[in-house]
Amino acid sequence: MLPIRESFILAGILFTLGVIGVLARRNLVFILMSIEVMLNAAGLAFVVAGAQWRQPDGQVVFLFILAMAAAELSVGLALVLELYRQYKTLDTDVLSRMRG
C-alpha cells in the first residue's frame, strides 16, 4: 500500500521542479525534458490515486499520458532539430520572434 500523502508530496515536488525547469532553462531541449518531468509527476499522481481507490483507471490514464508524451516529444524534437539547423542555436530568448 502506497503512502498516499507522501506520494502526492513527491508528485508535487516533481511537478514544481518541472515548472522551474521550464521557466529557468533557456535551452529548448531542457525545456522539453522539464515538461516530461511535469507529465510524469501528473502520471504519478494518477497511479497513486488509482491505487488508493483500487481502480485501474489511474494506470489507464498513465498509459495515455505516456503515449501522448511520446507523440509530443517526437514532434517537439523534430522541431528542435529543424530550428537548430536553421539558427544554429536553441536559446529561446534568441529564437523569440513574437512581438506583442
Binding site: L23, T92, R99, G100
Partner: protein
C-alpha cells in the same frame, strides 16, 4: 369610370419618380410636357369621374376603392383604399384642376432655372400626396398624405437652397407644422385605442354610438386633430411659418401655400365632422380660432410691404374664415369658401408672379406702382382676384362664399353675435388691405421699369382662374345641395338674421374698406403716410408688421432656450461618458500590451502563476 380613381394619385406619383431619376438628363421641353401632362391627365380624369359620380351616384353616396391591405397586425389592418364622396370629390376636382393650371404657368415661370426638373418632380409629388390625403379611406393613409405634402412644402420653400434664408424658412415651416402633426398623431393613437379602427366612416359611426356629446374622449380626440389642422392651415397660434414660406417660388406659393395644402386642416375637420359634433366646446374653439386668426392676420396684411407676404397673411385670414365656418357648423360653406379661395388666391399669386418677374424679382410694393398701363393683363386679373378676395358684392365668387359664412354665423345655433361682428370686421380689413395692395402696385407713378412681359403659358391659366373667380359664385345653391350629401346641414337658429340684412352689411363693409383704401392710398396718399408715421401708428405698424410679435415671442420662448442649451452642452456631457469608456479601454490596452513580450518563458510563467492562482481560489474560497 369610378374604378379609374386610383390613377389620379398614381400618375403624378409615377411622373415624380421619373422626373426625380431621369429629369436632369431630360430636355427641358420634355420635362415641361411630362410635368404638366402628369397633372393634366388626372385633372381630366377627375372631371370625367365627377361627371360619372353626379350622373349616376353610387349606392350610399360614396364609392370606396380598396387596392390592398397596407399593414396587417392583429385587428389593425389599414388598407390602401380611396373613399370618394361629395366632399372629397369637390376637393380633388379643385385641387387637380388648379394644380394643372399652376403647372402650366410654372412651365414658363421656371424656365431657365437650374432645378427645372427638380421643381416639377417636387410639384408632382405634392399633387400625388395631396390627392392621397383627400381620398384616403382611413386616417393612417390620410396621415401619409399629410406628411407627404408637408415634405413637399419643405422641399419647395427651400427650393433655392443656395440662399440660407430660404433653407431657414423651409425648416421653420417643417418644424412649426410638426408641432401640430405630433398632436394629430397622438389624436390618431387615441382614436385607435378607444374605437379600434382608423377607417373614417366606421370611426365616426362608432364614435357617435359609443360617446356622449361632450364626453372627455371625444373632446380630447377632436382637440388633438384640431391641433394638427391648426399647424397645417397656419392658424393661431401656429401661423408664423406661412409668411416665411413665401421664400419658395411663386407657383409653389400659389399652389401649396394658398390654394391647396394649407386648406388640408379645413378638410380634416370637415372629414371628421362627427367628432366635432360630439365635442361642442372644441367646435366653439374652432370658430374662435378662425375669428381671431382672420382679424390678426388681416391687421398684419395691412402693414406688409412684400407683395407675397400681403397675400400670405390674406391666405391665413381667409383660412380663418373657413375655420370660422366649420366652427359654427356651416360645413358646406367652409368647403365652398375653400373652392372660391383656391381660385382667386391662386389667381392673385399668379398675377403677383407676373408682376414680380416683370420687375426683376422686385417684391416691395412701394417700388412698384403705375403698372396698370404697363401690364394690363396682370392688372385686370389681379383686380378680379382682389375683388373676389375682398368680396365685391353680387359679381364675384368670394362675395357669395363669404356671405354664406357670415349668414351661417348669424343663423346657426352655434354662432353668436360676437362671431358675426368679427366676421364683418374681417370683411372691412380684407377689403382695405386688398385695395391698398392694388392701388399701391397698379396705380400712381411707375417706380421700376418693366423688363419682361409674360407669355401665354403664364397668362392663360390666370384668365381661366379669373373666369372661375367670378362664375364659381353663381353655383352656390347647387353646390350646397351637392355638399349636403356628405356633410350635415346647418342647424338653424341663433339670431335669425335675414339674408338681405346680412348681405347689405357685408356689402357696406366691403365698400367701407374700399373707400378708406382709396382715400388713404390713392386720393390723398399723404394721409396714409401720416397715419403710419404718427406715434400710435408707428407702434401699431411695427407690432402688426412683425405679426403681433409672435415670432419675437416664440424666439424667446422656444428657440433661444434650445439654442442656449445646445451651446451650453457643446462639449456634450453625456457623450463624455462614452469617450471616457474608450479612453479607459485604450489605457488598458496600452498597459496590457506591455505583457505581450514575445518571450516563451515569460508566457510559461504567466500560465504557471495563473494556474496556481486558480487552484488557490478553488481551494480557499
Amino acid at each position: 369610370m369610378l374604378d379609374l380613381l386610383w390613377l389620379v394619385p398614381a400618375i403624378p406619383f409615377a411622373s415624380a419618380f421619373v422626373l426625380a431619376v431621369f429629369g436632369p438628363r431630360m430636355r427641358s421641353k420634355a420635362v415641361a410636357v411630362l410635368g404638366a401632362g402628369a397633372i393634366a391627365v388626372p385633372a381630366v380624369l377627375m372631371l370625367l369621374i365627377a361627371a360619372a359620380f353626379v350622373s349616376a351616384p353610387p349606392a350610399g353616396g360614396a364609392y370606396t376603392q380598396v387596392l390592398w391591405t397596407w399593414i396587417g397586425v392583429g385587428s389593425f389592418r389599414p388598407a390602401i383604399a380611396f373613399y370618394l364622396d361629395a366632399l372629397s370629390l369637390v376637393m380633388v376636382v379643385v385641387v387637380t384642376f388648379v394644380s394643372f393650371l399652376i403647372h402650366v404657368y410654372s412651365t414658363e415661370f421656371m424656365r431657365g432655372d437650374e432645378g427645372y426638373s427638380r421643381f416639377f418632380a417636387y410639384m408632382n409629388l405634392f399633387v400625388a400626396s395631396m390627392v392621397t390625403l383627400l381620398l384616403a379611406d382611413n386616417l393612417l393613409l390620410l396621415y401619409l398624405g399629410w406628411e407627404g405634402v408637408g415634405l413637399c412644402s419643405y422641399l419647395l420653400i427651400g427650393f433655392w437652397y443656395q440662399d440660407p434664408v430660404n433653407g431657414l424658412a423651409g425648416r421653420k415651416a417643417f418644424i412649426v407644422t410638426r408641432v401640430g402633426d405630433t398632436a394629430m398623431a397622438v389624436g390618431l393613437f387615441l382614436l385607435f385605442h378607444s374605437l379600434g379602427t382608423l377607417r373614417i366612416q366606421d370611426l365616426l359611426h362608432t364614435a357617435s354610438d359609443q360617446w356622449q356629446i361632450g364626453s372627455p374622449y371625444a373632446v380630447a380626440a377632436a382637440a388633438l386633430l384640431l391641433g394638427g389642422a391648426v399647424g397645417k392651415s397656419a392658424q393661431l397660434p401656429l401661423q408664423t411659418w406661412l409668411p416665411d414660406a413665401m421664400a419658395g417660388p411663386t407657383p409653389t406659393s400659389a399652389l401649396i401655400h394658398a390654394a391647396t395644402m394649407v386648406t388640408a386642416g379645413v378638410y380634416l375637420i370637415a372629414r371628421t365632422h362627427g367628432l366635432y359634433e360630439l365635442a361642442p366646446q372644441v367646435q366653439l374653439a374652432v370658430a374662435v380660432t378662425g375669428a381671431a386668426t382672420l382679424l390678426m392676420a388681416g391687421c398684419s396684411a395691412l402693414t406688409q410691404n412684400d407683395i407675397k407676404r400681403v397675400l400670405a397673411y390674406s391666405t391665413i385670414s381667409q383660412i380663418g374664415y373657413m375655420f370660422f365656418a366649420l366652427g359654427v357648423g356651416a360645413w358646406g360653406a367652409a368647403i365652398f369658401h375653400f373652392m372660391t379661395h383656391a381660385f382667386f388666391k391662386a389667381l392673385l399669386f399668379l398675377a403677383a408672379g407676373v408682376v414680380i418677374e416683370a420687375l426683376h424679382h422686385e417684391h416691395n410694393i412701394f417700388r412698384m406702382g403705375g403698372l396698370r398701363k404697363e401690364l394690363p393683363a396682370a392688372f385686370w386679373t389681379f383686380l378680379i382676384g382682389g375683388c373676389a378676395l375682398a368680396g365685391l358684392p353680387l359679381i364675384t365668387a368670394g362675395y357669395y362664399s363669404k356671405d354664406l359664412i357670415l349668414w351661417s354665423a348669424a343663423n346657426s345655433t352655434a354662432g353668436t353675435a360676437g362671431l358675426w361682428v368679427a366676421g364683418i370686421a374681417g370683411v372691412v380689413l380684407t377689403s382695405l388691405y386688398t385695395f391698398r395692395l392694388i392701388f399701391v402696385v397698379f396705380f400712381g407713378q411707375p417706380a421700376t421699369p418693366v423688363s419682361h412681359r409674360p407669355g401665354p403659358a403664364m397668362m392663360i391659366p390666370a384668365f381661366v382662374l379669373a373666369f372661375l373667380s367670378i362664375t364659381a359664385g353663381f353655383a352656390t345653391t347647387p353646390f350646397a345641395a351637392f355638399m349636403a350629401k356628405a356633410l350635415p346641414e346647418l342647424h338653424e337658429g341663433g339670431m335669425g338674421m335675414s339674408e338681405v340684412i346680412n348681405s347689405t352689411v357685408a356689402g357696406l363693409a366691403f365698400l367701407a374698406g374700399l373707400l378708406v383704401a382709396w382715400y388713404a392710398y390713392l386720393s390723398n396718399p399723404a394721409l396714409g403716410r401720416a397715419a403710419a408715421t404718427s406715434r400710435v401708428g408707428r407702434v401699431l405698424h411695427r407690432f402688426w408688421f412683425s405679426d403681433w410679435g409672435m415670432d419675437w415671442f416664440y424666439d424667446r420662448l422656444f428657440v433661444w432656450p434650445v439654442v442656449w442649451s445646445a451651446k451650453a452642452n457643446k462639449a456634450d456631457i453625456v457623450d463624455s461618458i462614452y469617450t471616457g469608456l474608450t479612453r479607459l479601454a485604450a489605457l488598458c490596452h496600452r498597459y496590457f500590451s506591455l505583457t505581450e513580450t514575445g518571450r516563451l518563458r515569460w508566457y510559461a510563467a504567466w500560465i504557471a502563476g495563473g494556474s496556481a492562482f486558480a487552484v488557490a481560489i478553488a481551494m480557499f474560497l
